[in-house]
């Protein structure tokens, strides 16, 4: 198995997906199918965190899958955040400028701080800066 997906729903607002192995032209179909199950369960306006710590490799097919998730979440007013991409993955992201830098986090602490800040913003109902 070159690709594995673990889904962890901490809360209705926040779902963390742990990606393992390689996301390429061979595996992106599996990932896309899994997403069809996962994404509808995320609440409107919720957040999907893609934990890339264990993702060794991504190709353009994988990029497209991630782009689809983000488009889908954005359509539902939610966010997609990327956590801890490995060098190869980060390099690929950099080359194609796949995601805005403020949505990529090096570790869980940064991510948590960002999410807390966003929640306060929602509570305060005002615009906010990034982390």
């Amino acid at each position: 198995m070159t690709f594995k997906l673990d889904t962890e729903s901490e809360s209705p607002d926040r779902t963390t997906l742990h990606l393992h192995g390689r996301l390429d032209a061979q595996t992106f179909n599996d990932f896309d199918r899994a997403m069809l199950d996962v994404l509808p369960r995320v609440r409107e306006g919720g957040t999907v965190v893609l934990d890339l710590s264990a993702l060794e490799y991504i190709s353009s097919a994988g990029l497209r899958s991630i782009a689809m998730i983000r488009r889908s979440m954005r359509a539902r007013g939610g966010h997609t955040l990327l956590l801890n991409p490995q060098p190869q993955v980060r390099k690929v992201f950099d080359i194609v400028k796949a995601v805005p830098l403020q949505e990529v986090f090096a570790n869980t602490q940064e991510l948590d701080r960002y999410l807390d800040h966003m929640q306060r913003q929602i509570a305060g109902d005002g615009p906010t800066g990034n982390a």
Partner: protein, 778 residues
């Protein structure tokens, strides 16, 4: 020194010629004049001789008359004889004595008186009867009695009077009988005196000869009484001539010189008068005159020679100037002035012509100097062009540093400073080696420029060419462009797989290569296309060959096969093959050098007519492949095979110790490309295949991908629109190709009838850089 001057020679020759003419003319004139002179002298001398003869004759006639008168008187009056004799003697001085001698008879007078003249002039008488020696027995008396008309007796020497005498006797007749005689004595001295009294030319002498040829009188008294020379007497007797020439004179006073003798008979006697003229005397006058004329003539000729000398020197003076001018010209000094010609004669024309020649020569030399400088400049430019052209060629020797599977040796020798032959070789990539030999039509600078164009284009186009035939096609298209001068180049191009020895060749009208091995040398017959630069549509068939260890491939130009010897024989292919078979070793350098040396020996004396190029490629297959491919796969264009291949590649790279970052880059690029081929390149057919060759280079990983599907050049794909968020657009295309272009260190693409060909190169990242990346990643 004297004869170095024309003037001296001319005057000397004039002098010599005039003297000769004068001498000959004088000689002829002298000969003619001397004839006349002789005739004249003959006439004068004969007249003189006749006159002298007459005068002597007159004197003798008087003697005879006196004697005859006395005889007539005596006949009647013999008694008064003595008185009469005395009287007659006194009156006639010519007589030296008179005698009246009677025959002693009864009726004759008893005495015979004789009167003679003494030396002092007085007369004396005696009676001859009283002489002890009776006269009537004497010869003279008896002979005289026989001469009633008178006759001259022989001369005799009178003892008593001590002189030579001669008698004239006349018989006294009575009744028809002689009774005595009158004898008149005449001395020969008297005769001699008469001779001397004659007016003779100086040097001439006279004589009187009696009937016996004895000199009665002679101007030289010593000759009197002698006999005349026999030849004189013979001549006189024979011709009765009035003159005779004696080659040697008898008279000692004439010193033995030739004389002319003129003879006149003396009437009344049988004597002859002779006048001798020395021949020298006859000619003396004319000789003298001629001597004077000759002397004058010589003087005149000397003067003429002097005048000739002066005039010639004056006329030839400009020639001396011209001569020294010509010597200056010979030394190379052309900057001088000639004096103006005085007259438009030959010398004037010569001066003009010489001056013009000097000016023209100066101009010509100046032009030659300019031309020489121009030539020098051209030569130095040609020299530089030669260096530049040489710099276009790679080195003469090449040994593959990577695998040492082959070595190459090339020689190029232009016939002139620059030439149209070319050779070139270079590595196309880590594995493929390109080699070519070509020959541009024509020679010299145009060929050299076209050669430079060809070799540069070939180098530029080669990396894009998959095969020699493709390279030739591309090169042909480029060379056809703007080729108004219709230059063309024949080219043989080979691409060698340096790992396997596989050789692909294509020829554009070039000489077939020769393959040499242990079995000998043979031509590789390959189909050739048109020479490059002529036909844009030209196609070039390929020829495949695998080199075996020990084989040598010889490429050459027609400078080898068309080299000619002194008898215009071509070197030809047979000699080429024979020479290569005889090669002493299998080294590439020996093949090339040996062949060139053989051609030089063959063409010795004929000169090199065409550029010569030889290239020998010797295949060793010496070393195990250090560049052996890590992977050499051919797969179906399907997703499953693609990902299997990716795994195998990854494993192979890991086995080679390739760092993981690079492995991931390679994997990404290969995945993108191959997935692209599978998804978009099938061109409607399911059985497309992908070839993958991967090998490890020194500093890079080299990968070739071949796909027989739809042409697709990743380099030409449009850049994707990158907004910074892929989710902004519905579907972003070209991401994979963008990644490929970003990741591969080098990427080249070509397409031919066999499909798409991609060449990729991934440089090894420096080790430190790699470590750093890993650390920052965590």
């Amino acid at each position: 020194m004297l004869f170095r001057s024309i003037a001296s020679r001319l005057s000397l020759w004039v002098l010599a010629g005039s003297v000769t003419v004068l001498a000959v003319a004088g000689g002829v004139l002298f000969y003619q004049v001397s004839g006349q002179i002789l005739e004249q002298a003959h006439g004068e001398a004969t007249a003189l001789a006749n006159e002298a003869g007459n005068r002597i004759e007159q004197r003798l006639a008087r003697v005879a008359d006196t004697t005859q008168t006395l005889a007539a008187v005596m006949e009647r009056h013999p008694e008064g004889a003595e008185l009469m004799l005395r009287d007659a003697l006194a009156r006639n001085a010519d007589l030296s004595g008179l005698a009246a001698a009677f025959v002693p008879a009864a009726d004759n007078p008893p005495m015979s008186p004789f009167v003679d003249r003494k030396d002092d002039g007085s007369l004396r008488s005696r009676d001859l009867r009283k002489d002890s020696n009776p006269y009537w027995d004497k010869t003279w008396f008896l002979a005289g009695l026989g001469c009633p008309q008178g006759c001259w007796q022989r001369h005799f020497y009178s003892q008593s009077r001590k002189r030579e005498l001669i008698n004239y006797s006349v018989a006294i007749g009575r009744n028809g009988h002689p009774i005595g005689l009158i004898n008149a004595d005449v001395s020969l001295d008297w005769l001699g005196r008469i001779l001397q009294e004659l007016g003779k030319p100086k040097g001439a002498y006279a004589f009187v000869l009696d009937e016996n040829g004895v000199y009665l009188a002679h101007d030289n008294p010593a000759m009197v009484g002698q006999h005349g020379k026999p030849d004189l007497l013979q001549a006189l007797a024979r011709y009765q001539a009035t003159r005779v020439r004696l080659a040697v004179a008898q008279n000692p006073r004439a010193h033995g010189k030739p004389v002319w003798i003129y003879v006149a008979p003396i009437e009344g006697t049988r004597w002859r008068f002779g006048l001798a003229m020395p021949e020298a005397m006859i000619y003396a006058g004319v000789r003298q005159a001629f001597a004077r004329v000759l002397a004058l003539g010589l003087l005149a000729l000397l003067a003429l020679a002097a005048v000739t000398l002066a005039v010639t020197r004056r006329i030839l003076a400009p020639l001396r100037t011209l001569a020294s001018g010509a010597e200056q010209v010979a030394r190379g000094a052309l900057d001088f002035e000639l004096p103006p010609a005085r007259f438009p004669d030959e010398i004037g024309r010569l001066t003009h012509a010489f001056d013009r020649m000097r000016r023209e020569l100066a101009l010509h030399i100046a032009e030659l100097t300019r031309n020489a400088k121009e030539q020098q400049r051209l030569a130095s430019e040609l020299d530089i062009a030669h260096q530049i052209q040489t710099a276009l060629l790679p080195g003469a020797h090449y040994q593959d540093a990577h695998c040492e599977n082959f070595q190459l040796h090339a020689l190029l020798r232009p016939a002139r400073a620059v030439g149209g032959d070319l050779y070139s070789y270079f590595m196309l990539n880590e594995r493929r080696f390109c080699v070519m030999v070509g020959d541009v039509s024509d020679k010299g600078i145009p060929a050299a420029l076209f050669m430079a164009r060809t070799i540069t284009l070939a180098k530029a186009l080669a990396p894009r060419a998959r095969s020699p035939q493709q390279l030739l096609s591309m090169l042909n298209l480029e060379l056809c462009r703007n080729n108004d001068s219709c230059m063309f180049v024949s080219l043989l191009c080979g691409m060698l797989d340096t790992c396997t020895g596989d050789l692909a060749m294509a020829s554009a009208g070039h000489e077939p290569p020769v393959l040499c091995d242990a079995e000998g040398a043979r031509l590789i017959e390959l189909d050739t296309g048109a020479a490059l630069g002529l036909d844009e549509e030209a196609r070039y068939p390929a020829c495949m060959l695998q080199l075996q260890p020990g084989q040598t491939l010889m490429l050459y130009t027609d400078g080898i096969t068309e080299a000619t010897d002194a008898s215009l024989q071509l070197f030809g292919t047979e000699r080429l093959l024979a020479c290569l078979e005889r090669a002493p070793s299998r080294a590439a350098a020996d093949f090339a050098d040996g062949l060139l040396a053989e051609v030089d020996r063959f063409a010795e004396g004929a000169g090199q007519a065409d550029d010569i190029t030889v290239l020998a490629l010797n295949w060793h297959h010496a070393l195990a492949d250090r560049n052996a491919p890590m992977l050499d796969l051919s797969i179906n264009a399907s997703m499953g095979d693609v990902f299997d291949t990716l795994e195998r590649c990854d494993a192979a790279l890991r086995a080679q110790g390739v760092p993981s970052a690079l492995r991931e880059d390679i994997r990404l690029v290969l995945e993108e490309l191959m997935v692209n081929m599978v998804q978009h390149g099938h061109a409607g057919s399911a059985d497309r295949s992908i070839d993958l060759h991967m090998r490890q280079g020194d500093d890079a990983v080299l990968i070739e991908l071949h796909h027989d599907g739809h042409p697709f050049d990743p380099l030409q794909a449009p850049m994707p629109t990158l907004t910074g968020d892929l989710a902004d657009a519905d579907e972003v295309g070209g991401l994979g190709i963008h990644l490929v272009r970003a990741m591969a260190s080098e990427l080249s693409y070509s397409h031919d009838e066999q499909g798409n060909h991609l060449q990729l190169r991934f440089l090894h990242p420096a080790r430190t850089e790699h470590d750093h990346d890993v650390q920052t990643g965590h």
